[in-house]
């Protein structure tokens, strides 16, 4: 029963990306290119991979095979191909991270902008809630809550992760909007009576475009951090395959203790580590390329 040869989709087959205006400067930046292609690699692997690579089936006779051309990363205790599991394990993690990232960034930006722009009581209330949540260690709060609620749907998991993650981002957004609000072109817009909607969405937010992109990416890394933690703690019921579950299973099997079985746990760990690293590098280089805070003369 030979396992199919995994064919990696050739780049030519990909739809030609329209070189978007902001892409060119980013790719000229070395770490920008590394970050961007790293992220694209994992996204394509997780969303295009499963269409191309057939799922792997248990085969007791192939237990813990060493990495070979047929099984690039070897096999696990049930003889399943580890590489295929990595390919199938990405999508659920990334989807939850995207949803949680979107929720967190949206909540943080709206509350941050409102607190900064309206000020007064609204500002105090939002800040009060944020400071309160910030005092509770993030993971402690998430794990305790996770034990109460049945986390069966990814959206619910994403909500839980985002619920405690927005304060830090809200505070930085609030600080930025506060500084932008004092800018003279905002005062001029108020003098021209252009309206609050115009001022927030056409005058303030466009200036934060690169900042919002960076926060979105970093929000995804926090979401992955929390999600994998919950899964490895066994607080999330297994509905399907993902990197977190691979770690959980490998750990319960004690796969880490012997070199032969180690790949089963190392593969998902490295997959997560590299994906997080690409996201962080991408975020940092967007910051360097689009609003280089550090114009140091000396």
């Amino acid at each position: 029963m030979s396992t199919l040869q995994p064919t990696v989709p050739t780049p030519a087959a990909l739809p030609k990306l329209r070189p978007v205006a902001w892409l060119r400067p980013l790719l000229k930046h070395p770490s920008g290119a590394f970050g961007f292609f790293g992220v694209m690699f994992f996204i394509l692997l997780s969303f295009v991979g499963p269409l191309v690579i057939p799922p792997t089936k248990a085969n007791p006779s192939n237990q813990y095979l060493a990495p070979s051309p047929t099984n690039i990363l070897g096999t696990d205790n049930q003889g399943k191909d580890i590489f295929t599991q990595i390919v199938y394990g990405g999508a659920p993690v990334i989807t939850v991270a995207l949803i949680a990232g979107l929720i967190k960034t949206a909540v943080a930006i709206t509350l941050g902008a409102l607190a900064a722009y309206l000020g007064g009581v609204v500002d105090r209330v939002i800040n009060g809630v944020a400071n309160f949540i910030l005092t509770i260690p993030y993971l402690v709060a998430v794990t305790v809550l996770a034990s109460f609620i049945r986390l069966n749907s990814p959206v619910l998991l994403a909500f839980l992760i985002a619920a405690f993650a927005w304060p830090v981002l809200m505070r930085t957004v609030r600080a930025q909007v506060l500084s932008l609000r004092e800018r003279e072109y905002i005062e001029a817009a108020r003098a021209l009576n252009l309206g609050t909607f115009h001022i927030i969405f056409r005058e303030i937010l466009p200036n934060m475009a690169s900042y919002i992109a960076i926060s979105m990416i970093l929000a995804m890394t926090n979401a992955i951090y929390a999600q994998i933690a919950l899964i490895t703690l066994g607080l999330v019921p297994f509905s399907d395959q993902n990197w977190g579950i691979m770690i959980f299973k490998a750990r319960t099997l004690g796969a880490i203790n012997t070199a032969r079985t180690a790949m089963y746990i190392l593969a998902p760990v490295l997959a997560i580590a590299l994906f997080q690293w690409s996201l962080v590098t991408l975020a940092r280089s967007i910051e360097d390329v689009f609003n280089p805070r550090l114009r140091t003369g000396a």
């Binding site: 003279e184 072109y185 003098a191």
Partner: protein
């Protein structure tokens, strides 16, 4: 004084800010009346309240107390269309050319937003024509070169002209210019001042021109008036040529005598008005009576440090808030 109702009036305006526990009294009992098509320069050191006064007139800041009237009607009460009319009639031009334009919009978008918002144009073609007209009006010629440009592609002087054009989009009647030329190089500053003077005459605008530089004030407001402010109060107000060549209030006289002149022999032969103390009192502990009394060489103990002087006629052509000049006027 022409009997037309003043376009803008401040009666007994106070303004204070809370920082932590302390209350900072930035403006105390400011009274100003602006006639249509008049030029008034607000002059004073940093912290004297001239920018706050400008912001209150431009409707950016409410007064803590006192009346703020636009064409005789209290600004605070204006609602709906009246408020919109007031908003369109009073515009502001800022100091920093690098922060006065939104970097993410090109000149066409910056100047067309207000046109569409206030339905002054029906479609893009009309908007484009009006924007080109505005750019020509502020001497940014050939306008077609500038219309697609972004702020970072313009010099400081050019950006200030765009800021003026933006203020003109809604056909205002009063413009508050807060140090519009102080961050622009000397050689280009004059051409900007000349453009503002031409616009003032051509469009019949009332100008509130804020500056710390008495010489610029004297040049710009030659036919208008200068109001000198100190620690949140108007201490002297009068025709520009008079206030600068025949100052009445001791503070104004100290300013005029201390200011260096771009003429070696003249500036080195100037008579200095020696002040009694160097440091400027902080806004947290404003001196009693006349705020200038701790530094004033003509300080009359028992009067200047007790009773706050009101603006009153002086031997010269301007009014001053000073017991000494008031007495001199009565005697003179």
């Amino acid at each position: 004084m022409p009997s037309e109702t003043p376009i803008f009036e401040l009666r007994g305006v106070h303004r204070s800010f809370k920082s932590g526990r302390q209350v900072i009294k930035v403006l105390q009992d400011v009274n100003l009346a602006l006639q249509p098509r008049e030029i008034l320069c607000l002059v004073g050191e940093s912290g004297c309240g001239k920018t706050t006064t400008g912001k209150i007139i431009a409707g950016m800041l409410p007064a803590s107390s006192g009346e703020v009237l636009f064409e005789g009607r209290a600004v605070a009460g204006l609602k709906g269309e009246d408020f919109n009319a007031y908003r369109k009639a009073v515009q502001i031009v800022h100091q920093d050319p690098y922060a006065s334009l939104n970097p993410t919009h090109n000149l066409y978008r910056t100047l067309s937003f207000p046109l569409f918002r206030h339905k002054l144009v029906k479609n893009n073609a009309e908007a484009r024509a009006r924007v080109l007209e505005l750019l020509e009006l502020v001497d940014l010629t050939p306008a077609t070169d500038f219309i697609e440009k972004y702020p970072h592609q313009l010099s400081g002087g050019q950006r200030q002209r765009v800021a003026v054009a933006r203020a003109l989009t809604v056909n205002p009647r009063l413009i508050v210019a807060d140090e519009p030329v102080s961050m622009v190089d000397v050689s280009i500053r004059v051409s900007l001042l000349n453009t503002l003077t031409r616009l003032q005459r051509q469009l019949g605008l009332t100008f509130v021109f804020i500056t710390h530089d008495l010489a610029v004030a004297r040049y710009f407001a030659w036919e208008g008036r200068i109001a000198v402010m100190y620690l949140g109060r108007v201490v002297e107000i009068g025709p520009a040529p008079e206030v600068t060549s025949n100052p009445q209030h001791p503070y104004t006289r100290a300013l005029i005598s201390s200011l260096p002149e771009p003429d070696p022999e003249l500036t080195r032969s100037k008579q200095r008005l020696e002040l009694r103390s160097q440091d400027i009192p902080s806004l947290l502990r404003i001196p009693s009576g006349c705020a200038f009394h701790p530094r004033c060489p003509f300080h009359v103990p028992g009067k200047c440090d007790v009773e706050r002087p009101q603006l009153a006629p002086t031997p010269g052509a301007s009014w001053a808030a000073c017991h000494v000049t008031e007495a001199a006027a009565v005697r003179g």
